[in-house]
Symmetry: C5
Subunit: 88 residues, 5 copies
C-alpha cells in the first residue's frame, strides 16, 4: 500500500456502468514526511475521504475487496484515512 494525499476529484459522465456512484479522487503518493513521490493516481474512495486527507491506497485486485467496489473496474482504492505516521 502507499500513503497519499487527496488533491482533487475526477468527474465523468461517459463511464463504465459499474463506476456509477463511486467517488473517484485524484491523489499524490507521499512519503512519511508528506513529500510527493508520484503524481496523479486516481483511487475509488471507500472511507469518506476528501481533499487534503492523508489516506492509504491499495492497488490491484485488493482494491476491489471493499464491499462498495465489488465488480467495478477499479485498480486503486482508498481503504483508510490515516491518523498518524510514526517514524522511528
Amino acid at each position: 500500500m502507499r500513503t497519499a494525499e487527496v488533491i482533487g476529484t475526477v468527474t465523468a459522465t461517459a463511464k463504465d456502468e459499474q463506476l456509477v456512484g463511486l467517488k473517484l479522487l485524484l491523489t499524490n503518493i507521499i512519503d512519511g514526511d508528506g513529500g510527493v513521490l508520484e503524481h496523479a493516481i486516481v483511487a475509488a474512495d471507500t472511507c469518506g475521504a476528501g481533499v487534503g486527507d492523508r489516506v492509504l491506497i491499495t492497488y490491484g485486485s485488493a482494491a476491489r475487496l471493499p464491499a462498495k467496489i465489488t465488480g467495478a473496474p477499479v485498480d486503486a482504492s482508498i481503504v483508510a484515512i490515516i491518523d498518524r505516521v510514526s517514524l522511528g
Copy 2:
C-alpha cells in the same frame, strides 16, 4: 487508475482472436494539469473515446471487467471519458 490523453490508434492484422473488434488506443498518462507523466500506454476502449479525449485508464485484471473486454488478453482499458478534474 490514471488520467490519460488519447494520442493515436494502433492497428494490427496478426493478433489474438479475442482482440478482434476491440479499438486499441495509444495514450499518454497525464497529471491534473495535463502534463505528461508516462508515454505510450495502449488501452482498449470501452467508452467510445477518440484522439484528444482525456480518459480514465484502469490496469490489470480490472481492465477485463467491462463487458466488451471479457476474455481478451488486455491489461489496460479506458473505463471513462473525463469531464473535469477539480484540484484543491
Copy 3:
C-alpha cells in the same frame, strides 16, 4: 519480493473493516547493502516485525496468502524477517 527496512507505523481509525487488527508498517525498499531503492511502502505485518528490522515484502495477490491477511484489501505483506543477505 523485495528486501526492506521497517521505518515506522501507520495508524488509522477510519478504515476498511478487514484491516482492523492488522499492523501496518512503513518501510523503505533496500538493496543487499542497505541502500534505499524506494521510499514509503506500507506493508501488513505477518511476522511480528518492528522498526529497524530488515524484512522480506511480497506484493500483489501473494500478499493475501498468509492466514492473517485473508480477505483484507492488502497489496503488500511482510512475509519474513531477514537474518542475513549473503552476496557473491
Copy 4:
C-alpha cells in the same frame, strides 16, 4: 499494453516444463515514434513475431489468456504484430 520492438531471442535448457515449446523473445518497449522507453522485457510469442517486428505486449494474468500460453509461468506475451501506429 505496450508497443515494443523485438530485438532478440532467449534460449534456456533448464526451465519450467510449462515453458517447453514457447518462443521467448527479448524486446524493448517503444513509443509511437520508435523511441525506447524500457529495455529487455522478455515476452512469450503467440503471433509468429520475429526480430525487428513492432509488437503489442500484454502483462500480468492477461498474458496467459492466449491458448498457447495457458498454464505457463508467463507474465508478458506478444498478442499482436502491429501494422501501424497512427498519431494525432
Copy 5:
C-alpha cells in the same frame, strides 16, 4: 519476464510457513548485454540456480504456477536458467 543475474541468497528464520524449504535468491535485473537495470529483486528458485547464473524471472501470480511454489506468498520466481540471449 525479465533476465536477471543471481548475486546472493536471503536467509530468514521467522517467515511464513509456506516459505519453508524454498530457496530465496537475490538478483539484479539485467539487459541483453548484462547491464544492470534494477537492483535487489528477491525470487524463489525453481530451477536449481546459483550465484552468477543468468536467469529468467517471472512476476505476479505467474510466479506461483511452478509446482514447487504453489501456495507460497511469492511474487517472483526463477523459471529458467538462460543459456543464451541472441541479439539482432
